[in-house]
Amino acid sequence: MDTEFVRVAYMIVVLSMYVNIGVSLYAALAKPNLVKKIIALTILGDSVNTFIILVGYRFWRPGVFLQPPVLTNLRPTSEVIRQFLEKAVDPIPQALVLTAIVINLAVTVFLATVALHMYRHFGTVNMDVVGRLKRYEVRKEMA
């Protein structure tokens, strides 16, 4: 069992999750287009969710195949349940993420409708232009 390889691969996965989080945060903050912001936000949410599941993963032991946390024996003896505990991964992060994904979707739907309304009012979804338009409006009202 090559533990060094496992550590390196695991570190690569964690690092790429960080890179994804960072890059999508950058896009959500810096890109002016609302649609691009929404895309970046979905990627951000997914990366965080992946990271949570990754924390719930467990180390492989030699000769044991990890299993999803589902008991496949419908008449379990105590021996079966003990083996299940040896093999199964942590179900709690998965349950948390399950609802988090649906919440993310709801938020995205809401943002999409808001962006659409913004487009209908301003004729654009570029936030730089929208800011300029609003400044112009405010200046006109002040004068």
């Binding site: 195949f65 990890l66 299993q67 999803p68 589902v70 496949t72």
Partner: protein, 94 residues
């Protein structure tokens, strides 16, 4: 010879070929001069990934993970349809 080790070895040896195919598909998905090309590459990638997921389920001794493949196939079809509708119609709900 044991059936379990035979099947495991077979799947393990088939993996590099799948990886090579996936890498080429991803190359086309990234390179694709037009958007439809990229859609085609993602499609082909996902259909093959569905087959690969079933083999991985056998490798992991986890037969209950099969619904993943079916869901992937269904939704990638949906991606196809959206793109077709985008190119063909004036509105998505038309």
């Amino acid at each position: 010879m044991n059936l379990a080790t035979w099947v495991t070895d077979f799947i393990v040896f088939s993996m590099p070929f799948y990886f090579a195919a996936f890498a080429l598909y991803i190359a086309r998905a990234i390179k694709g001069p037009t958007v439809p090309d990229m859609v085609l590459a993602v499609d082909a990638l996902s259909y093959d990934l569905a087959a690969f997921l079933v083999l991985l389920g056998i490798l992991f001794r986890a037969p209950i993970m099969i619904p993943c493949a079916i869901v992937l196939v269904l939704w990638v079809y949906a991606l196809d349809i959206y793109m077709a509708k985008y190119f063909e119609a004036g509105e998505i709900g038309e």
